[in-house]
Symmetry: C2
Subunit: 332 residues, 2 copies
């Protein structure tokens, strides 16, 4: 059986695909599909490799409206920095939704994941952040700290960014990058409390296993997107925040109660065991109420879904076809 | 981050890698590793897609002794034949066991799976079949019917093959192919009973959902490898056979009790719920007793393991490096 597969590299993708309103739109569409119940998204295949301090996740989701479905492999090898290699890399395959034949392999080293993860934060900001955001705060100083702020700024064009990180130098570098990228005032700040109290939109992007944000710092007109916790054991928010929030939203409840902030909130009794929070897709499609006024506290708990991968993968493949990049290989 | 990934096609693999004793050895090594408990093999990620009459499985296994681990994607789109396409295809990735970086993508359309599946049957024959096999029987007329007989013939050089299939023409074509491939007398036979009664080694390779082999047909000096059932609902052996057998062996108990013949055997009380059958790897490593004499009945229940994929994938990559085939792509 002969057909062609397109092999696309990270640099080809980076040259042609960047964050923007259209990527947020695309990921919004994926969440909306999740809410309609037509998406088939099996549990994440997760392989822990303690002997090499590593883990490997495989995600997939089938969305009937999309021509292809993605299967994404995300290895995290946390000793890689000792070898001068990044901890995270990975690749994504796109298979035809009609025949299962592979159409493309994206050797993206996680770039598409970075984009779709940030765009989910953008979608959360679109639907949940106060209309007026003057200041945005970000916890963490890595790739997602930068990208989340870019994706949120598309939706809420704030003037000021406060960056908190454990390492002051990293926080300053991150602030500089953000200032250069979106042309706002961006400052590294030592006080986590100040970041929360002065911001109307906060994004947490760390792998922390202890809460970084105290429930006492909550104030009306605040939205928090917590995207750092995507694993059992991670936790960025004081669990009492779930009880205080006027609206608590998950990307996928079944994932958040295992891997997200909802896990600790439930364990500590701050989220009632008999209640199910709405999902972002339901807010988008109107199946659940969103923010009702600027003076409320909203939380969005993001763990990452295969549906986002399928959405960004389809978009990247359309780009590759239309701009004619990638290497064609006959599978015969 | 720049590194090179090797993209290898089905035809490149078919030209260079065929069944043989060394492939059986390799898969034997994978089963032995499974028995030592050092293999990490998470449950299969399985996505049912009833709206397109399809399913997609993803398997992986990490074996410390191997330089890479495989992640294999196996789509089955059962309406494909209407489009002139095979139902099964798929691809396999090899990731470094030390860094998680992808080293190769095999666009093999399931060829490596075909080999490693047949080789598991070869390993089962090596350890479980009577020493003297004059006649081998095979149920089914597809790719695995041919390959299983080739892999078993390496271990037990039988003189005669009986082929049973629902479609007489297919059975005759299969018998002809087998005769041409390994130079034995091969005959299509209408009576399933005759196939079993006249054979010392039987392999079942069908997707049947009703038993094809009756417990009444059992005789001493018989080994059956049942590899067709790899899904809930499939069933090739009369469940009473599990009770009659002197030795019942699984490739992986946790899979066989869900997907293999063991499922029905347990459901019908033909396998005691408080007993765990040995695994093929334990027979190989001496952790459990194998066949004790030619005059016994042994069964091997094969569902397919990620460990086999990792073994064949490593071998294919070594071949590609040493024979210099495949297309190198810089991931940059």
């Amino acid at each position: 059986m002969s057909h062609e597969i397109l092999i696309v590299t990270e640099s080809e993708l980076k040259r042609t695909l960047k964050l923007g309103r259209s990527v947020n739109d695309l990921v919004e569409k994926a969440f909306a599909a999740l809410a309609t119940g037509e998406v088939i998204m099996p549990p994440i295949l997760s392989m822990d490799l303690p002997m090499v301090n590593a883990e490997v996740d495989v995600k997939t989701a089938y969305i009937p409206d999309f021509e292809h479905f993605a299967i994404k492999v995300s290895p995290g090898f946390f000793d890689n920095p000792k070898l001068g290699l990044p901890s995270l890399n990975g690749l994504m395959m796109l298979l035809s939704a009609q025949t299962g034949l592979a159409s493309a392999v994206f050797l993206d080293n996680g770039y598409l994941t970075d984009l779709r993860t940030a765009a989910a934060g953008g979608v959360a900001a679109r639907h949940l952040a106060p209309q007026k955001v003057e200041t945005a705060g970000v916890f963490g100083t890595g790739v997602q700290a930068r990208l989340q702020i870019i994706a949120a700024h598309i939706e809420r064009p704030f003037k000021k960014v406060l960056v908190w990180g454990r390492n002051r130098d990293h926080a300053e570098a991150c602030a500089q990058d953000i200032a250069a990228e979106i042309g706002v005032e961006a400052t590294a700040v030592d006080s986590a409390e100040r970041v929360v109290k002065e911001s109307q939109l906060v994004v947490t992007t760390t792998p922390s296993r202890e809460p970084l944000i105290d429930a006492d710092w909550m104030h009306p007109d605040l939205h928090i997107t917590a995207m750092g916790s995507d694993q059992e054991g991670k936790n960025e928010l004081d669990p009492e925040i779930a009880a205080q929030a006027d609206l608590y939203v998950c990307d996928r409840v079944s994932q958040c109660e295992l891997l997200g902030e909802l896990r600790t909130a439930k364990q500590t009794g701050n989220w009632p065991s008999d209640q199910t929070p709405p999902e972002l897709g339901q807010i988008i499609t109107g199946g659940a109420a969103g923010r009702t006024s600027d003076a409320t506290i909203t939380i969005c708990d993001l763990t990452g879904t295969g549906a986002q991968d399928t959405a960004i993968g389809n978009h990247a493949l359309e780009l590759a076809y239309s701009l004619n990049f990638g290497t064609k290989i006959k599978t015969d």
